[in-house]
Amino acid sequence: MSLSLRLEGVSKRFADHLAVDRLDLEIPSGIVVGFLGPNGAGKTTTIRMIMSIYTPDSGTLSVLGEPNALLVKDRLGYLPEEKGLYRKMRAVEVVAYFGRLKGMTAPAAKAAAKALLERLELGHVLEKKCEALSKGMQQKVQVAATLVHDPEFVILDEPFSGLDPVNAELLRGVIRDLKAKRKTVMFSTHVMEHAEQLCDHVVLINRGKKVLDGSLASVRQSRGLSVHLDYDGDSRVLQGLPGVARLNDAGKTAELALLDGADPQAILSALVGRIAIRKFDLREPSLHEIFVREVGGKTHE
């Protein structure tokens, strides 16, 4: 299997802050990878190093088989977290312009821009100036500008932030399309649902270090079991239950991560009669639970 990306012991320091600490990573071609981590974990720094915007202080890096992304720029698509558009340019012009910067001819870029914007349901605003578009539309134009040259390897930094559910679903569709075309997609997010729905593979980093790396299924299966609960009633009842390692309570739903060997039946009987249970589901933990557990963030006491 060929690799789209390989990082070996890559580090980057800014002044007295070690942003990325000896990171190793291998991404096979043709899969969708979720790049997860809390704010300030080093995701954007890592991505910028992959794109050769930053130079690593140490370690080696290979993108599509080359040591430097600059050598394969035209085969990469990159959507930064901080992204903008030329406000005075028309939507189709902007997308075609980025296509041309990636080496496309003018007619090819224009045709691809049109087709892609139509796919993203922006066919009616092709000739509108970007400043006249809503924020969500602008973000879709940016996605189009990233993909217009049909890249082999697509890196999206927080692509879902600021999208409403309809547009988020549209973007998930675009990512699935890319996967169907055997492209490699790597995207960062801290919304675990998006990762759960899309990824073949997840990588979790925290404080510049890799915490988790593997296929979504294997990551989830290796983390014990959780009770996924839908309920109505006093949430204080959920606290202090036997065999529960950690509780993630959202008010109407809750996830109870179980200790090894804990008895789900005991938990169920402890709850019956005290709250109204609409669903009681025993399966592998959610990515959210794994994230919270690994990052060591706050849990509900």
Partner: protein, 423 residues
């Protein structure tokens, strides 16, 4: 197509769509044309000014009238007032001036020939054209009378008192004498006008570049661009695109200037006193103007792009830009002095300071400077420009992704010295 060129054409197209571009392109010619026509129209519409001559016993009035009629000025007309003695005439005239029926009146007293003093009365003493016109002719008449009275022939005396001319010749550096004509005075001062336009062209274009860089930064476009092209290419493309914008505006102005020069004699019905067209078209001026625009702009643009990349808002940029503006004012302040003495020590020294070279060498074009000065100053300037480009590219690389407060000047210097490692 080359990516730099792509960036440049996009930049150019974007500027060409702005109002500012069209305003600067058209405003200058329209303003000049309008002000020209306006002043002509104002001159024509000005009502005829009436005046009265009151002869209070001098007996010079008829002779003065004869002189005025011999060299009439369409702007002024004498009104003849009949009857009465001088005293009552003066009273009437004074009332007429007060009521704006008359613009002015002059009284010629009996002792005019001995005292040489007459009186001019008007409401408006700031416009002295009528006063001067009357005084000139009155003086000529009084002189002639006095000469005749002393038994001298006025024609003879005029001949004897003919003014002395101090003819001026210009010796060129190869020792030959160049005949000075009216054209040469214009030639002497033309470069000053060119420096002025050059300075503004360079300054305004750099401002455009500054704004465009900051906009691209605050729009968060830089990182998107960086995925496709290098910071150096972005910078070069922007500088080139805006240079083309500036050249378009300048080109339009020059074109307009030539059209105006052709059209003006047709409109005025007479040829211009100095052949400006021939002078301006002189390759020495036009070519050096374009050359120095490109050089001056490139150097200042590089510095501007470097500064712009470090700032996130226009306000921050103004702060960092301030020292550069102060440095750039020098050629404007020395402009007149260098125009007067193009080969002074000051001029020679400033020519060798790269940031001033374009302006000062343009300023000295009438000198003209010696060939070695052209060569040496150009070499220094081109070298400095290349250096400025390299430093700016480094700043640009560091700056474009920087957010928050821009560094201080001292910190910029440190950045430039310590970061040689970037690709």
């Amino acid at each position: 197509m080359n990516k730099v060129w792509l960036v440049a054409t996009r930049e150019y197209m974007e500027n060409a769509r702005t109002k500012t571009f069209w305003i600067s392109l058209l405003a200058f010619p329209i303003l000049i044309t309008a002000s020209g026509f306006f002043s002509v129209w104002l001159g024509r519409s000005e009502s005829e000014r009436k005046f009265v001559i009151v002869d209070d016993g001098s007996g010079l009035a008829p002779a003065l009238r004869a002189r005025l009629e011999f060299a009439p000025d369409p702007r002024y007309r004498e009104v003849l007032v009949e009857g009465g003695d001088a005293g009552s005439l003066i009273q009437v005239a004074q009332a007429d001036v007060a009521a704006d029926r008359l613009f002015a009146f002059v009284t010629l007293p009996a002792d005019l020939l001995t005292t040489g003093t007459a009186r001019y009365v008007s409401k408006n003493l700031t416009d002295r054209d009528l006063l001067d016109w009357l005084r000139r002719h009155l003086e000529a008449e009084v002189h002639e009378r006095r000469l005749s009275g002393a038994g001298l022939d006025p024609t003879n005396v005029r001949k004897l008192l003919a003014p002395v001319q101090l003819g001026s010749d210009r010796v060129t550096s190869d020792g030959t004498i160049a005949k000075v004509e009216k054209k040469d005075t214009a030639r002497q001062w033309l470069p000053v006008a060119f420096v002025y336009i050059l300075w503004f062209a360079v300054f305004l274009t750099s401002q455009m570049l500054l704004n465009s860089t900051i906009e691209e930064k605050s729009n968060r476009l830089m990182e998107v661009l960086l995925a496709s092209i290098s910071p150096r290419q972005i910078m070069k493309g922007k500088i080139l695109g805006i240079a083309l914008t500036g050249l378009t505006v300048l080109g339009a102005w020059v074109l307009y200037f030539f059209i105006a020069l052709k059209a003006l004699p047709l409109i005025l019905g007479k040829s211009l006193p100095v052949d400006f067209g021939g002078l301006v078209a002189d390759p020495l001026y036009l070519t050096s103007f374009l050359f120095y625009f490109v050089c001056g702009y490139s150097m200042i643009a590089a510095i501007t792009a470097g500064i712009g990349s470090l700032c996130s808002t226009a306000k921050e940029a103004q702060g960092l830009y301030m020292p550069l503006t102060m440095v750039l004012v020098v050629p404007l302040m020395t402009m007149a002095a260098i125009g007067k003495d193009p080969n002074s020590t000051l001029a020679k020294i400033l020519s060798m300071i790269p940031i001033y070279t374009p302006f000062v060498m343009m300023n000295r074009a009438a000198g003209p400077p010696e060939v070695w000065e052209y060569v040496v100053s150009t070499i220094i300037m081109v070298g400095a420009t290349l250096l400025a480009f390299r430093m700016a590219a480094r700043l640009f690389q560091l700056g474009v992704l920087m957010t928050g407060k821009p560094p201080k000047l001292g910190e910029i210097w440190k950045l430039l010295r310590t970061t040689n490692t970037k690709a």
